[in-house]
């Protein structure tokens, strides 16, 4: 087999409906496949490239028409390569990064205004269960550091508006529990109002326990996007989200959210997490209720950052959850016609991954010009500021890789080094058969002060992804029209006049 064969033909799989597909990673697409296609492909791209006539003669056990079709299509498909776009050359330099960040980056400044928290959530990445992250402390960000961070960020936005004049600056307040330092939030907003003309987007991530009427009113008046760590019904929420003394927090959180929901405030979302003990049906029912904020993001408890969280679960727990997930999926698709539009948490479980895989991943282009492997952001895309004023990649990534600080700004040389280091650890990516579907980022590979090699982290990744491919394609085969409707971007135009 020559190299061309290796790159043109990638991962093959079969759905339970009996269809074969090939994941063509070079293009980033699933294409229908068959035994004949496979045999013809092997002949075409084998050691001795051959003509259609010779292939027909050699494969005389198969239908001639089918062989001809497969031969012609494979030859046609080769031409797709002409449309490829190359990625950025490595190694990078500081200018490449600056150029990228001033046009595409600076999406958000996130201020970690306190490391203190009145909760001790069971899955918190700042707990002892995670080896590579910080721990809770009483440290708070000072107004002086917050002002410096804001000045730096908004000056960057202003100076680079010629590259992206429509970028809307956003400041997020994060913790710990940021409402433990509520006065700083107020002072930051006042500072921006007094010193800048920008129309700002403010965001707050809170556990909701301190979100009293007064604070809620002020946040709503200032158009904050409020993300509340509401985890589902009382038993589920209180299983995972508890106060320092171990008591559940559900009732306090719901009492605080009530008036905001009654007011009809739309910029409030829930950020639930789940683990192997979560009852997905209960979760779904809970978030279908009218008085509950919609689910902005649904996350599995993190398995990264040196996580020991899952040590508590048995193999039986794992298998039970897989079965539970299967039942939930079956129920979801059986009732798809009666689905309550836009509210089901099951959409996030069962539709979002399909949408991501089929419509959101890049085809023909690499995923990212600066970082062609994995789906990671370019550091500086967002700026996460810790209580001391040190800049980090984001809130989910270990703090062992700072990228600047409030006094000196972004350190582009450090960012380049970080990217190069990351790139050098992606030793498996060059031969990976699912490059275009990779959803991993820095957080998956980072250790306390460096990176793991992708050959270690992704050892079974292709096998896992193959299972996901089967699951997604067999669903898409049955519910193809529904799936295509979720390709909301251009599908409405393309599908005009398709009605019966």
């Amino acid at each position: 087999m020559n190299n061309k064969f290796k790159r043109v033909c990638m991962m093959e799989f079969e759905t339970t409906n009996g269809n074969m597909y090939m994941w063509n990673d070079e293009v980033g697409i699933f294409v229908p496949f068959s035994d004949t296609m496979k045999a013809v492909r092997d002949e075409i791209y084998g050691e001795n490239a051959t003509s259609l006539e010779k292939v027909i003669k050699k494969l005389d056990f198969s239908d001639k028409g089918e062989i001809t079709y497969c031969y012609n299509w494979l030859k046609k498909w080769e031409k797709v390569k002409n449309q490829f776009h190359n990625s950025q050359n490595h190694p990078l330099n500081s200018m490449d990064i600056k150029k990228f960040i001033r046009r595409e980056g600076l999406k958000q400044l996130t201020l970690c205004i306190t490391e203190d928290c009145n909760f001790r959530c069971k899955f918190c990445i700042y707990s002892d269960d995670y080896d590579y992250t910080r721990v809770h402390s009483g440290r708070k960000m000072s107004l002086s550091i917050a002002k410096k961070a804001i000045d730096y960020y908004l000056t960057l936005i202003k100076n680079n508006s010629k590259y992206n004049p429509i970028r809307k600056p956003a400041i997020g307040f994060y913790g710990g529990e940021p409402l433990l330092n509520f006065n700083l939030i107020k002072k930051c907003v006042q500072y921006v109002d007094s010193n800048y003309e920008n129309k700002m987007l403010y965001a707050l991530t809170t556990n909701g326990s301190l979100l009293d009427k007064q604070k809620s009113k002020w946040l709503m008046e200032n158009d904050f996007i409020i993300s509340v760590s509401l985890n589902g019904p009382e038993n589920e929420h209180d299983r995972l989200r508890v106060y320092k003394d171990g008591n559940g927090s559900y009732r306090d959180v719901m009492e605080n959210i009530g008036p905001i929901m009654e007011y009809g405030y739309e910029n409030i979302a829930s950020l639930p997490v789940y683990d192997l003990k979560t009852d997905l049906f209960e979760l779904n029912n809970f978030f279908n209720e009218k008085n509950v904020p919609y689910v902005g993001m649904l996350s599995e408890v993190s398995r990264y950052q040196g996580s020991k969280y899952y040590d508590q679960f048995t193999e039986e727990d794992r298998l039970k959850f897989i079965e539970h997930l299967k039942n939930a999926k079956k129920s979801y698709w059986e009732n798809i016609e009666n689905r309550n539009s836009g509210k089901s948490i099951f959409d996030l479980f069962f539709i979002k991954p399909i949408r991501r895989m089929l419509f959101e991943k890049n085809m023909l282009y690499p995923q990212n010009n600066i970082l062609p492997f994995t789906s990671t952001c370019v550091p500086g895309n967002k700026i996460f500021v810790d209580v001391n004023g040190t800049f980090h990649i984001c809130e989910r990534v270990s703090f062992g890789h700072p990228i600047g600080n409030v006094d000196e700004g972004l350190n582009f040389a450090k960012i380049v080094k970080l990217i190069d280091d990351y790139f050098n650890h992606m030793d498996k990516c060059h031969e990976c058969e699912i490059q275009h579907q990779c959803s991993y980022c820095f957080q998956h590979f980072m250790t306390k002060n460096g990176f793991e090699y992708s050959s270690k982290i992704c050892e079974n990744r292709e096998i896992d992804m193959k299972e996901a491919f089967v699951s997604i394609l067999e669903t898409a085969e049955i519910f193809s029209e529904y799936i295509d409707d979720n390709n909301y971007f251009k599908q409405n135009n393309i599908n005009k006049y398709w009605g019966d």
Partner: protein, 375 residues
């Protein structure tokens, strides 16, 4: 048995008929109403007759094939369908810079005389303008801005750009290396050996002419102005010649075919772009000699602001919704075109159509009557 088109083949339906667009070989297959009906059924994963001649024909052309079971076919595309929605810069790729309005000639086809041309935007036109023109320094600032905004294709035109040739050259030289392609339009009669020598390796020259005998060079682009009835041997037109049709004020509605051009070449990128954007207005702005910013060189009333007192960035910030609305006026929004299966590969001049119909979404210059199922 089922039949599905291949990943590279898009099936687009009009009101009555459909067409298949092959994104690898860049070919179009227009279908009859009956064929459209059959293929619609196939693409909806309905069971079909394997002996159907039409489907066998599609298979023999490697456009699709038969399957034993229901199949999901992912379509070939370019990039991601959502990535660019995330706070990314405006997709501003093309600018017309009308660096002067003046001309001492009085060509019969000049926009100044109110005549309408199908490619007037690429040609030279003098415009009535009492405002003070932008100076050289300002043009250089604008070029810097265009570069920073990621614009990659610039058309310099006038007026007669040979009138103040030294300034024209300084602007052209200042643009060197900043953009992927630049073009300058000059009338045939304004060319000189010096001008041709000056432009060598600096930009692409578009020569406006109304006399086909003037077309002597193969290495320049020509914009040949003609009335449709004078164009006899359309097939013999050289490859480097673009036809700039004169459109009369009164159109003979029964004889629209004479304006008809072949469908432009398409590819995956242009096809997907046209699903979202207008094929011409999309990603484009015009900067007039007095600093006015227009959405199209020929739509003089589409003023978005003036660069004497603002920057392009200011205009994008203040008027982006308005700009984007014009850019995204794709043919799904245009009467007639909206029910045509060729809407994502067709050309369309909004400036002309607006002048002829009085409406931004009007359509006169097309002899297809798709709403009636006619070609």
């Amino acid at each position: 048995m089922y039949f599905r088109l291949n990943p590279e083949c898009y099936f687009i339906k009009g009101m009555k008929q459909g067409a298949i667009f092959d994104m690898i070989d860049c070919k179009i297959y227009a279908l009859s109403p009956k064929e459209t009906e059959i293929l619609t059924s196939c693409e909806k994963n309905k069971i079909i007759d394997k002996e159907d001649d039409f489907l066998k024909e599609l298979r023999s052309r490697t456009l699709g094939t038969f399957y034993q079971n229901k199949q999901y076919i992912q379509k070939l595309r370019f990039g991601s369908f959502i990535e660019k929605e995330l706070n990314t810069p405006p997709e501003f790729y093309r600018a017309f810079l009308q660096i002067n309005d003046k001309c001492d000639k009085n060509c019969w086809f000049c926009g100044y005389n109110g005549l309408k041309r199908s490619l007037g935007c690429l040609g030279c036109n003098k415009w009535e303008n009492k405002d003070k023109p932008l100076d050289l320094k300002k043009w250089k600032e604008i070029i810097e801005e265009l570069y920073d905004l990621g614009c990659n294709e610039i058309f310099f035109n006038g007026g007669d750009l040979s009138i103040n040739w030294d300034e024209t050259m300084e602007i052209l030289e200042y643009s060197q290396g900043k953009f992927i392609n630049t073009y300058i339009t000059l009338h045939q009669h304004n060319l000189s050996e010096k001008i041709i020598k000056d432009l060598k390796n600096k930009t692409n020259l578009i020569i406006q002419t109304e006399d086909y005998n003037d077309i002597k060079f193969d290495n320049f682009l020509y914009l040949y102005v003609t009335k449709p009835e004078f164009l006899i041997n359309k097939e013999n037109i050289k490859e480097n010649v673009m036809i700039d049709f004169i459109i009369e004020d009164k159109i003979d509605l029964d004889n629209l075919a004479k304006y008809k051009k072949d469908f432009p070449q398409f590819n995956l990128q242009s096809f997907l772009n046209n699903i979202e954007y207008h094929p011409c207005l999309g990603h484009t702005l015009t900067i007039c000699s007095n600093g006015d910013v227009l959405s199209c060189p020929m739509m003089r009333d589409s003023n978005l602001g003036n660069l004497k007192n603002k920057t392009l960035s200011n205009i994008f910030r203040e008027k982006f919704d308005e700009i984007n609305k014009i850019w995204k006026l794709n043919l799904d929004n245009i009467e007639k075109c909206t029910c045509c299966e060729f809407r994502y590969i067709c050309q369309d001049c909004r400036a002309l159509e607006k002048k002829l119909t009085g409406r931004l979404d009007g359509k006169l210059l097309c002899n297809c009557r798709k709403e009636k199922g006619e070609v």
